[in-house]
């Protein structure tokens, strides 16, 4: 197996009495898109947020690109990890341009570099440049999600974490954003982790799939393996649920 982009070892995390992850270990392959699929409450979102230090596990280690996350390096690590969430999470007081370029400007990028990268991303996600000075409240759900993806990719991070980014969109919008996502995979090589409850979205967008159930890993493998040999009734059920 090649170098993993994220490696979890013996991770335990609980909220109150409820244990979400119990001694979980996992390697996520670099430079491809990996989908983490599971029902809500399966621990998939917690697992993702441990990778960029938003959630600190009680026990265990997580390393990103070979080095573990500590309180000292957390900010630098995060600059190398893009993050986009369901509902876009755009800052309402900033325009499209300000949202997307905020982190680059804070990193003191030159105006020119910032401008160039902004244009590239807007084009990549087929966003009209006229939206530049608009505020999030005046954008459609699909536009907001695209802006959120642009923001996550502004620094061209080697790793992108996507927490159900397409779940709240209507089917037509989701379809078109899916197409841009695939285009993105070809345009810029990077490791991407996509958390979703939709098995069909996982099959469509990812190369590898991790199925989670009650804080355990039910099955891990390539899209073909999961499709052809579902390891359990639970995995099987995810196909049916997604198909409905």
């Amino acid at each position: 197996m090649s170098i993993p982009c994220i490696e979890y070892s013996d991770i335990t995390k609980s909220y109150g009495d409820k244990t979400i992850l119990d001694g979980l270990s996992l390697r996520i392959t670099a430079n491809i898109t990996t989908a983490i699929v599971g029902a809500s409450g399966s621990g998939k979102s917690t697992l993702m947020q441990i990778a960029n230090g938003l959630i600190i596990p009680e026990r265990g280690q997580v390393s990103v690109f070979g080095s573990s996350i500590t309180t000292e390096n957390i900010t630098d690590k995060r600059l190398a990890i893009g993050y986009s969430v369901q509902g876009a999470g755009l800052f309402p007081h900033m325009s499209v341009y300000e949202n997307i370029t905020l982190i680059a400007r804070l990193q003191r990028w030159t105006e020119k570099d910032t401008e160039v990268r902004f244009h590239t991303l807007m084009q990549l996600l087929e966003l009209d440049l006229e939206l530049r000075d608009r505020y999030p409240f005046s954008l459609s759900g699909g536009q907001q999600q695209r802006v959120s993806l642009c923001r996550a990719m502004m620094l061209n991070p080697p790793l992108l974490l996507l927490d159900e980014p397409f779940s709240a969109l209507d089917p037509v919008t989701r379809d078109s954003i899916h197409r841009e996502f695939l285009k993105l995979q070809h345009a810029e090589t990077r490791s991407m982790v996509l958390v979703t409850h939709d098995m069909f979205e996982a099959i469509k967008l990812a190369q590898e799939i991790i199925v989670m159930c009650d804080g355990r890993i039910e099955q891990q493998g390539s899209v073909a393996e999961i499709q052809n040999n579902p390891a359990s009734d639970y995995v099987q059920a995810l196909f049916q649920a997604g198909g409905q």
Binding site: L54, I81, Y83, G89, H93, I103
Partner: protein, 513 residues
């Protein structure tokens, strides 16, 4: 942030703030330095004391002094404290009050006795004006002549006489109970409101009532005061109480009033205010002219112009008090809120403390400030600051806590440092709510600052307090209308400020357009 400071409106506000800070600094320097021709005259909050303070003020003005009038202070201890701390140079005190309330002196103190006790305090009492404002028993003059009595002793023998006394007089040791044991009265008096007693005696419902010996009403109802032949009532000679460091020139000016006002004269002057409806300034001017101390014409014009200048002066002081308190409230409340909002326990306990401060009645909080900070603007500003803290702190904490957790998570995940998160995401998102809190604090301060006049801080409360004490509606309005105007202006200013600092779609309670 840079955008905030370059905003012309914000610049203007900063400038106003700086200007008022300078003003305060100037004021305190003027007080600290030896400004030879300025004097601060204080008064308690009842008619006679206002009138005498006004007489002293005009006399000083005529001698070329600049007079700062700190009138209408509530309570002997407050004004005495003001004198002791040199915030007031002179006010009129009564020997009995000074002996009993301040010095806990038993019996009848002489001027020398009083001054011997006062030396350590940096305070000195000057010779009396002449009148003795004490309790007295009043009877209709005709009736007294008919009965042929002139003294209290002679009244004791009149078995079928009807007496009606104020409730206070009936209960005070130096009132009816003491009078009974001193003179041996056996009659049963009835209790009634002091204001109604004169009318009752005029209508013939009662024959005798308690009175203050310098009440203007005594002449109006043609009453006779019975001589206290056993010397039961303590004597309350009106006399100037001064800052012991007052220079000789100033003492000489006050001294010109010594012995010029006897009981009858004081009754007459009080009556001109209470019964003829003249202003203190008018009556004081008349008195000084009658005594040949000042020419009459000088004063009427002075008072006419001084109404507007005093109004402006009061408003300026009021704005100053409010702005400084608000500035301090923001300087403490905003950073404190930012520091503690993450800790539930700390936020709770700080809000609890701030809330507790809020429940202390304003007047009590102001009074509590006196032993700590004396009187005047400092304690008033501290009290106003304490009141402004809760709305500012609460709005800051609430605003930061109610920010969408997803946005906080995203800001963190993007790789922003704590400071960057605060400056670029948390504070701008909290701003509309914080502004609302600051606005509330500002309006509360403007309202509460009117009470600051009770402890001699001046401002728009001064005419209100005076007006209340004298039942003078027009005076009350001179304070109340500008105060209401200030509150409205503040509301408008904050609207403008909000609009220039916050994007329209981020405004609280407004739909995006």
């Amino acid at each position: 942030m840079k955008a905030c400071i370059s905003n012309p409106l914000v610049q203007a506000m900063l400038r106003i703030l700086l200007m008022s800070l300078c003003l305060i600094a100037n004021n305190s320097m003027a007080q600290a330095g030896d400004e030879p021709l300025s004097i601060t005259v204080g008064s308690k909050n009842f008619n006679e004391n206002y009138l005498l303070a006004e007489v002293i003020s005009q006399l000083f003005e005529h001698a070329g002094y600049e007079v700062d009038r700190k009138f209408g202070m509530t309570g002997t201890l407050i004004i005495y404290e003001a004198l002791r701390t040199k915030e007031v140079d002179v006010y009129v005190e009564y020997t009995g009050t000074l002996g009993q309330v301040i010095l806990n002196y038993d019996g009848e103190p002489s001027l020398e006795n009083l001054n011997a006790q006062l030396t350590g305090e940096g305070v000195e009492i000057l010779p009396s004006f002449g009148f003795n404002n004490t309790y007295a028993l009043a009877i209709k003059r005709e009736y007294a002549e008919e009965l042929g009595i002139t003294t209290v002793s002679e009244l004791v023998t009149q078995a079928d006489i009807e007496m009606g006394f104020s409730i206070e007089f009936l209960n005070r040791a130096d009132g009816w109970p003491g009078l009974v044991s001193a003179y041996g009265f056996s009659q049963q008096p009835t209790g009634m409101d002091h204001g109604l007693a004169y009318q009752a005696i005029d209508d013939g419902n009662i024959d005798v009532t308690d009175a203050y010996s310098t009440d203007g009403d005594i002449d109006r109802y043609d009453l006779q005061l019975l001589e206290d032949d056993l010397g039961f009532f303590p004597r309350y000679f009106g006399a100037p109480l001064i800052n012991a460091e007052l220079p000789v020139d100033a003492r000489n000016i006050i001294d010109r009033l010594t012995g010029r006002i006897d009981d009858a004269r004081m009754r007459d002057l009080n009556g001109r205010v209470m019964l003829d409806g003249k202003s203190f300034a008018e009556v004081a001017g008349e008195f000084l002219a009658e005594e040949g101390l000042v020419a009459l014409s000088d004063n009427t014009s002075a008072t006419a112009t001084s109404m507007w200048s005093r109004l402006w002066h009061n408003t300026l002081i009021h704005v100053q008090l409010t702005l400084i308190a608000l500035f301090l409230g923001c300087a403490v409340g905003l950073p404190l809120g930012v520091v503690i909002y993450r800790s539930r326990r700390l936020s709770r306990s700080m809000l609890y403390i701030a809330g507790l401060l809020q429940t202390v009645p304003s007047i009590a909080l102001l009074a509590l400030m006196i032993p700590l900070f004396g009187i005047g603007q400092t304690p008033a500003i501290i009290a106003l600051f304490m009141y402004s803290l809760l709305p500012i702190l609460r709005s800051t904490i609430t605003a930061l806590l109610t920010i969408d957790p997803v946005l906080k998570r995203v800001a963190e995940a993007l790789g922003m440092t704590r400071t960057q998160q605060l400056v670029h995401v948390l504070l701008p998102l909290a701003l509309p709510n914080v502004l609302t809190g600051v606005k509330t604090a500002a309006i509360i301060s403007i309202g509460t600052a009117t009470l600051a006049a009770f402890i001699g801080a001046g401002g728009l409360g001064e005419p209100i307090v005076t007006g209340l004490a004298l039942n003078d509606t027009s005076l009350i309005l001179q304070g109340a209308i500008p105060a209401a105007g200030l509150a409205i202006l503040t509301e408008l200013l904050f609207d403008v400020l909000e609009r220039s600092l916050v994007k329209p779609h981020m405004l609280v309670g407004q739909l995006p357009t």
